[in-house]
Every structure is written in C-alpha cells, then in structure tokens.
C-alpha cells in the first residue's frame, strides 16, 4: 500500500481540496522548531505590546498587565527579544 495509509480517502474529504475548518493550523504545533526560547521577565515587562505585534507566529499572549509566550507555536526567532524596549526578554537555549 502506498503512503499515507491512515489518512482519509477520496470519498471522505470535501471536494476541490477545500478546507472547511478555519484556523485548523492550530493543530500543528510549531513550537518544536525552536532552538532558543524567549523568557519574559514580568517585572520588567511594560506591556507595550511591541513583541505582540511583531511576532510572526502570534505566539505572544496578551495578559492583564504583561505578556506571555505561547510555547506551543513559538519558533524562537528572537524578534521579541530584539525589539523589547524594556529588555524584559532573554533567549534561553532549549533543552531536549
């Protein structure tokens, strides 16, 4: 039998290759791409939200008074650390 045995057959998927579930990529956790993870010092964070707007992956979560990282998706690019005006983010090597 050829590849992808456990995936749905042609009778079961919608026609034309359309995808009916918006945002289904949330099921694909890109967090394991990381070599370094951003760590937020909530004391230093001024909640300016620059890291939030600059994150290519939407992996910064807005909380009441500061931000947090969604490690399920963060690819460890480090833009947040570079752009943080308060120096509240440091990149720490991932341990695997």
């Amino acid at each position: 039998m050829s590849e992808s045995e456990n995936k749905l057959g042609w009778r079961s998927i919608p026609i034309a290759g359309i995808l009916l579930e918006p945002g289904s990529s949330l099921k694909y956790k890109t967090g394991d791409w990381r070599a370094f993870r951003p760590v937020i010092d909530v004391e230093k964070c001024v909640n300016c939200l620059l890291c939030w707007i600059y994150c290519p992956d939407g992996a910064i979560i807005r909380l009441e008074n500061h931000v947090a990282v969604n490690y399920d998706y963060c690819k460890g690019c480090g833009i947040c650390k570079t752009e943080c005006p308060a120096g509240a983010i440091k990149m720490v090597e991932e341990e695997r």
């Binding site: 992808s4 042609w10 998927i13 919608p14 026609i15 034309a16 290759g17 359309i18 995808l19 918006p22």
Partner: protein, 396 residues
Amino acid sequence: MKQVMGKIIGLTGDEAIAYAVKQCNVDVVAAYPITPQTIIVEAFSEYVHNGEVDTEFICVESEHSAMSACIGASLTGARVFTATASQGLALMHEMLYIASGLRCPIVMGVVNRALSAPINIHGDHSDMMGSRDCGWIQIYAENAQEAYDWVIQAFKIAEDHDVLLPVTVCIDAFILSHSMEGVEVREDEEVSKFLPVRKPSFKLDPDKPITVGALCLTDYYFEVKRQQVDAMERAPSVIKRVTKEYNALADRSYGLIETYNMEDADVAIMCLGSTAGTAKAVARKLRDEGKKVGVIKPWVYRPFPTEDVLEAVKDLKVLAVLDRACSFGAPYGALCSDVLSILYTEGSDLLVFNGVYGLGGRDITPFDVEAVFNEALEAAETGVVKERFKFIGVRE
C-alpha cells in the same frame, strides 16, 4: 404535451451563443476578444450596455485573466460565462485545469480555431483537442441551433451537485461562428424555469470561512483528482437527465451522441461539429443510391460516450473517424485514438480508418466526404482497410 414552437431569429453561431447566455441570468462574464469569438463578446456587451441583462461584464486584459476572474467569480457563488478561441484557449491553458480542479461550474464558448504557428484564424479543433485532458466537459455543436440549445443545458449540467465541472460548448470558426441560421429560441420565462438561480455547493462567504486552493502534497493530491474522475463518471447520467428535460421543453432529441441512419448501416463516418452536417447530407444522397451508410456525431466528447458509441457501432462493418486536429507524433488523431481504445478492449472486429482533415479551415467538401464513404464501403466489401491513416484535402 404539445410544444409551443419558439420564435425563429436569424443568428450566427456567435450571436446564438450570446443570446443563450443572455437568457441564462449569468452574473459575471469576463472575456477577451479573439477572432472569431469576437461577436459573442460584442453582442453580449450590447446587451449589457442596453440594460437587457443584469451581468457584470469584465473586459479583462487577457484570456488568462479572463479565466482567472471567472474562477474568482465562480468561487463566490456566481453563475459565470466566458468565451475564447485558439491562442486565447492556449493562453488560459493552466487556468482550465485550475477551474476544473476547484470544481467551478463555468460555461465557456470555444470557437474552434487553428493554433499558431503559422497563424491562422480559421476552423479546426486543434485548440480544444490541445486541452482535452483539462477536466472540462466538452460539447461540440453542429450548427447555431445546437450551440444555442447546448449553452442553456451546459449551465444546468455544470451546476448539478453531482457534477460541478466546467463545460465548454464548441463551434467551428467562421463556418458556424459567422454563418447565419434560423435559430428557434425559447421564451425567457421558459429558460428561467429550466435554469433557476445557481445554488453553489460551497462559496467564499465571510459567515462561513473556507480555504480554497490549499497546497495538497503527495498525500492528498491524488484523492482530489480521483474525486474529479468520479464527477466525470457521473456526468453522462446527469447530461442524459438534463437533455431529457430540455428535449421535452424544446422538442429536440439531444443526448450524448447523435446517430444518423445508423439502424442498418454497413459503414459510417464519425466526426465532431459542423462536418457532421456535410456528412449527413452526403449520407442522404448515398442512401438514395442504395448504399447503407450512416453518421455518428458525438455531441459530448468529454466524458467520452463509450457505451453510446459501442452501441451505435455494434453491427457496423467499417468506421471512418475524421479528426479535425493533428496529434503530432501520435499513431492516430485524438477522436480516433479514443474510439480505437474502446473498440480494442471490447474485442470488437470493426474495421477503422482515420482521416485528418480541415486543418487551418481547409474546406471539406461533399466530394471529400463521399470519397471517404466509398473507401469505407470498399473496405466493407474486401474486409481490408487500404489506408489506416490519411490526410484529406492537403496538397502533396
């Protein structure tokens, strides 16, 4: 039920197509002019500018954009039409596959014109034959009447949820596109009743966001294509259902193929489009001389009407298949190749020979057609085909 005869209007093939589109409540037309399709778009532009139709007409800047815009409009749930020929069809070639892959029920009028090079504006089938694998349903009309009738039916076939494939209605360049006939047209209300508003099976809708055109890698592409095959396989029964309904409305006898004097024929000619009209006229003459000849004219070329063709030829001795396009390097022309493959797998002992004719609008005369019939009759007599493949009408 007694049909009411429709009114007869003098229309060229192009005008007949435009008239049919006018009656079909099309939402969007995106088209680019190319001889000899130009009259279709010009006639339709008149309808738009005179308020006779409620259609968004996009004068796109190329045929590739024409099909692109049609796909966009079709994905939005609109009823869409376009028309082209020859180089235009070739230019939109990649988009044809995308239209069928995305299951857009677009209807397109194709005025079959020779492909360059050399540049030639006259009729042959090389343009559509060059795209015959694109996944569109392909219908060939013999005259302006058939073009009119088939355009109306094409929308209903395309939009059927068992099909959802785009459809071309083909007419021969100049011979049909620019020649005037008396075309019996239906009343607007009859067409509206036959063809209600399109009900898309999926569409771009902010209330129900879907993703169309995702990247399907090696693990999903094959399955989506298999679905298209399934749709093509279901198309013949849908076409039969639609033609049955239309035949009752318009007093016609459409189906997948037309057979003419085939009941007791010994030999027959098979061809697509206007040449069938010539063949029928010659067949009538030869029948008067006592020769048992017939004509098989597929209306629907894709999906190939295998069962209907096999049924039509079952008692035949010799079949001459005429192709109005040359498949360079192939053993036989496109139509003949399809016929031979189904005959072979049936174990048929029907004798077949192939003639490629009419390239670049080279006329095929009743004399030419009679010669083909006589050759077939001779083969029926001797049991041997003299020339399996020949060119008809080319100067040596």
